[in-house]
């Protein structure tokens, strides 16, 4: 196969969600883990089918077949090996830069969709990637350390571009998130004093907090680039408050365990 056809075939296979390894020795799988060996072997066998290799690897002979037809044949064989094509989920989810993260748990408190969780060591983690709302980068704006990336986002530093000092200033809390959440969650997390706790509970019951939340939703959409359909899909105010409470408890528990661990 000439190089132009090989490039076309590789592109067509990638577009079908298939991984491609171009190898000199078709029989030699890349890497060392046999469980990760290729499921379909493609080569020009000159029309003479070689003996089937071990472990269920399927063979496609590229002799005289154009790249488009070859891609269809390979996809068919790959489907038979893997039991079907992967779901067409756009991989949109937060990726944490742990060299910047201070484990403050603000992302955990903020996210209403339980994308974040904590590890057994009380370290913030992205645990439910597919819960994340496609094209919504809002939690990255909440992070005071600019530690949250969405690699497929348009702009830096959220897309993974290096973080500059100016970014840290600019990205820091564009809206009053505490009002959105119906209480002073961050003060609570910071000092966890009795005073802060009573202020939180008062503000949660206050109708004013709900009004502020609504105006914050508009600000969120404008400033944080939250897609309208994400806002439209938000749960009811009651559900939000219940989720916020649950997230707040989780975040407090995690940050308390983390500070105990630090003291130990």
């Amino acid at each position: 196969m000439n190089s132009a056809d090989r490039a076309t075939l590789t592109r067509l296979l990638l577009e079908r969600g298939l991984e491609v390894s171009c190898r000199q020795d078709a029989a030699a799988p890349p890497g060392h883990d046999p469980s990760l060996a290729a499921s379909v072997l493609v080569a020009n066998f000159g029309g003479v089918r070689p003996p089937a290799p071990a472990s269920g690897v399927r063979i496609v002979d590229s002799e005289g077949i154009d790249p488009a037809s070859l891609a269809v044949a390979i996809e068919r064989e790959a489907d038979q090996s893997s039991g079907g094509a992967p779901a067409a989920w756009k991989p949109w989810f937060p990726v944490i830069d742990y060299s910047r993260c201070t484990n403050c748990m603000q992302c955990l408190s903020f996210c209403l969709f339980e994308v974040y969780g904590v590890s057994a060591e009380s370290k913030i983690q992205v645990q439910h990637q597919s819960n994340c709302k496609t094209d919504c980068p809002a939690c990255s704006r909440v992070c005071p350390e600019v530690a949250i990336m969405f690699p497929k986002y348009r702009h830096g530093p959220i897309n993974g571009e290096e973080v500059k000092a100016d970014d840290v200033r600019r990205e820091a809390m564009k809206v009053d998130i505490s009002a959105l959440l119906g209480g002073d969650v961050y003060a609570l997390l910071r000092d966890r004093s009795v005073k802060a706790k009573s202020r939180f509970s008062k503000e949660r019951d206050d109708e004013r907090a709900l009004k502020e939340r609504q105006s914050c939703l508009i600000a969120l959409q404008r400033d944080l680039d939250v897609p309208a359909e994400v806002l439209a899909a938000l749960p009811s105010p009651e559900e939000i408050l219940a989720k916020v409470e649950a997230a707040r408890v989780r975040a407090l528990a995690a940050s308390e365990t983390a500070s105990l661990d630090t003291k130990d």
Binding site: S3, A4, R6, A7, T10, R11, L14, E15, G17, L18, E19, V20, S21, C22, R23, Q24, P30, G31, H32, D33, S35, L36, P86, W89, K90, P91, W92, F93, V95, I96, D97, Y98, V126, Q129, S130, M149, P151, K152, Y153, R154, G156, N159, G160, E161, E162
Partner: protein, 124 residues
Amino acid sequence: MTTHAARILYCHCAFARVVPPEVKAAVLTGLSEADVEFDAVPDLCEMAARGDARLRELAADGPLKIAACYPRAVKWLFAAAGAELPERAVRVWNMRVEPAAAVIDGLLDRDGSAGDAPVAGRSL
């Protein structure tokens, strides 16, 4: 077809248009024309979300040259899948911003960067 000292990994960023299609096409063509061994994956983000074991295998398999996007994103995507990239042995070319020719030259060691400081690609 030739083997390189460093394994070459190309990411096609299949689920978004953040990498210019013409850059992806030119890099794939360049790799095919050079007749080198390489691995190509549809979308590193998707593999990281699945915690794909292949990322751990790639990270553990010695020197690696990656054509994808921002090195900071690539590094932490691998980490999200439990695959720590060895910083000194990995270089990343960013197809979002670098011209295809610079990416190809770097992947194929034509930019004089095979030894010390990277010229086009970024060490992690």
